[in-house]
């Protein structure tokens, strides 16, 4: 696997907690990802329509449309997007298994950044971004 800087992995973060989403976005940007953060499901749909990301970080609990509904919508429209659900609960794994969704994972809040990076890179088969951070 070779690093292709101009084809950076594009990540879309959807979370109603602005502080969380923006900070996480900044941290990922520092690690070389092309990150956009939006703070509601509608904005997320718009962003996906304009330019679909490689990875979608989706908060499960948000006002209005729930993360699960958003997940179903995104999965039916663009199944190629790797979705990581952000959740407070341990046992979402079983629900996901039950739904039979592919190209999908979850991570618990507060987020362990190295775990998230491993997950994203594993899905997009890229070089671990940690190394890029160290190199820069």
């Amino acid at each position: 696997m070779t690093e292709v800087p101009q084809e950076r992995t594009r990540v879309l973060i959807v979370d109603d907690e602005v502080e969380f989403a923006s900070t996480l976005a900044e941290r990922l940007q520092l690690r070389g990802y092309d990150v956009t953060a939006v703070y509601c499901v509608e904005d997320a749909f718009n962003a996906i329509r304009q330019s679909p990301p490689d990875v979608l970080l989706l908060d499960l609990i948000m006002p209005g449309t729930s993360g699960m509904e958003a997940l179903m919508t995104v999965k039916s429209a663009a199944p190629e997007i790797f979705v990581v659900l952000l959740t407070g609960h341990l046992d979402i794994e079983k629900e996901l298994e039950g739904m039979g969704l592919e190209n999908c994972n979850f991570i618990m809040k507060p987020v362990d950044i190295s775990k998230l990076i491993t997950m994203i890179d594993g899905a997009t088969r890229e070089m671990p971004s940690e190394k890029r951070l160290e190199a820069s």
Binding site: E17, R27, G88, E95, M108, P110, V111
Partner: protein, 484 residues
């Protein structure tokens, strides 16, 4: 004996006594009357004899011709009266003498008639006198004892009167005794029964009527005992049911308390989790930025401060994740499994920890334990949790015992006992509450709380028993086939 029979016996006794007394009196009177009749007849004979001698004198001394008719009359009477008393006379003097007397009277009569025809016959007159004296003597001997007879009668009457008095006294005494016995034999058992009803009515259900026998009251007493036994049994089962109800109520209260605590804790955890995530990201970003910055003053100091924040966030994360896991109603993945395998797996997981502390783990897994249907992963988590606690509790070289079994056909049991220092009685009841810990700073106080939630969710129950210095035993009850 039945009361009716008792009364009949009592009445029968009285009747018999009365009849006996009547018979006795009848016999006494009969004897007296016979005696009086004898005395009267004897008196008549004596009188007849005297009259006969008077008219004999008139005939012999004064040659009164009319006397012969009177003599005939009295001789006839004499003969008749002697006939009446023949039996008594024979008894007194014998049949021979009696025949002689009859012969003398006949001879006397003939001689009198001969004298009446020939008054001058001196020899005949002398003969009559001799015969008359002999007859007189015999009659006096036979019937002359009226005086003695009257004495005898008086004595007899006296004796009868005394006997009568005795009989009456006996009648009264025996009657009184029999009446008292009869009354007591009827009223004592009734009193006994009354006492029994009073005691049982007063709540003393252990009291029994001790009536025996075959009368109506004894039978009533036995019926009473049977009723009382049933009452006793009913009360016992009622008390048992109430005790069980109390236990269930306490368990319900306890589980409701824990459930609401869980909801509150999870609510707080959820609210805390988001700001915690922000703190985590901010600290992480600071770390990132400082990490890529050039050297500046206190860079290492800042890095270590941020490390501290991140470590604290990690601790908080552990807590909030546990709490959120407790409250969330998740789908359990049910599968059929061997409980013994689950326990053996747990023992395998903890192999190293057990070895490090040189803890002897004894297992007691009956081979015939039926398979159960439950959530294997969650069950494992619970057992692992409790055994880990036990490992932490026991001292080096301590013992832990894990055993499986059946409580009944529908409930399987897991028992985990250690010989650690135990938990004081007043703290045992708080064991399953969130944030309760006996490990000081080492524990979050959520392990047992979460385990409790899981077991509840699987339709089971978890209880702990402990005493200071005697170790702790956890018992998990799991339904053999739990349907959600």
């Amino acid at each position: 004996m039945k009361i009716k029979n008792k009364l009949l016996v009592g009445f029968g006794f009285y009747t018999l006594l009365a009849v006996a007394m009547g018979c006795f009196m009848y016999l006494e009177l009969h004897t007296i009357i016979s005696r009086l009749a004898y005395v009267k007849s004897a008196d008549d004979i004596v009188n007849n004899a005297l009259e006969t001698r008077r008219y004999e004198k008139n005939l012999l001394l004064f040659n009164d011709k009319g006397a012969i008719n009177e003599l005939d009359h009295y001789i006839t009477l004499l003969r008749k009266n002697i006939g009446v008393l023949k039996k008594e006379i024979v008894k007194k003097i014998g049949a021979q003498e009696f025949a002689k007397l009859s012969g003398q009277i006949d001879e006397y009569e003939q001689s009198i008639h001969a004298i009446a025809r020939n008054p001058a016959d001196k020899g005949l007159i002398e003969k009559v006198r001799i015969i008359a004296r002999e007859i007189q003597a015999t009659i006096d001997a036979v019937a002359g004892g009226e005086r003695a007879s009257i004495d005898y009668l008086l004595a007899h009457l006296n004796r009868s009167m005394i006997l009568l008095l005795f009989t009456i006294a006996a009648f009264i005494i025996a009657g009184a005794i029999i009446n008292m016995k009869l009354a007591a034999s009827i009223s004592n058992p009734i009193r006994d029964l009354e006492e029994a009803t009073k005691r049982v009515g007063g709540g003393d259900l252990s009291w029994r009527s001790e009536l025996t026998g075959r009368d109506e009251i004894a039978s009533l007493g036995m019926s009473f005992n049977r009723m009382q036994e049933r009452l006793s049994a009913a009360r016992q089962s009622l008390e048992l049911a109430i005790t069980e109800l109390h236990e269930k109520q306490e368990q319900l209260l306890e589980s409701e308390k824990l459930a609401s605590l869980g909801r509150i804790a999870a609510g707080v955890a959820h609210e805390i989790n988001n700001p915690l995530a922000i703190v985590n990201e901010k600290a992480g970003l600071m770390q990132d930025i400082i990490g890529i910055s050039d050297e500046f003053q206190n860079k290492d100091k800042f890095m270590s401060l941020i490390q501290g924040i991140v470590a604290s966030v990690d601790r908080c994360r552990a807590i909030t994740h546990h709490l959120l896991g407790y409250a969330r109603p998740t789908e359990s993945v049910m599968e059929t499994m061997s409980l013994n395998d689950v326990l053996a797996d747990v023992k395998g997981f903890l192999h190293k920890e057990l070895e490090d502390k040189r803890i002897a783990m004894e297992t007691n897994f009956p081979v015939d334990l039926p398979q159960i249907r439950s959530d294997k992963g969650q069950l494992e988590q619970v057992v692992l949790n409790i055994v880990r606690n036990a490992i932490e509790a026991v001292s080096e070289g301590g013992h832990i015992n894990i055993s499986s079994g059946m409580k009944d056909s529908k409930t399987a049991l897991i028992s985990i006992a250690d010989d650690g220092p135990g938990i004081p009685q007043d703290k045992v009841k708080h064991l399953f509450e969130p944030f309760f810990t006996t490990k000081g700073k080492k524990g979050t106080g959520l392990g047992l709380f979460v385990s409790y939630g899981i077991v509840k969710k699987l339709g089971g129950m978890i209880t702990a028993e402990s005493k200071s210095g005697r170790g702790t035993t956890f018992t998990i009850q799991i339904p053999v086939d739990f349907r959600q």
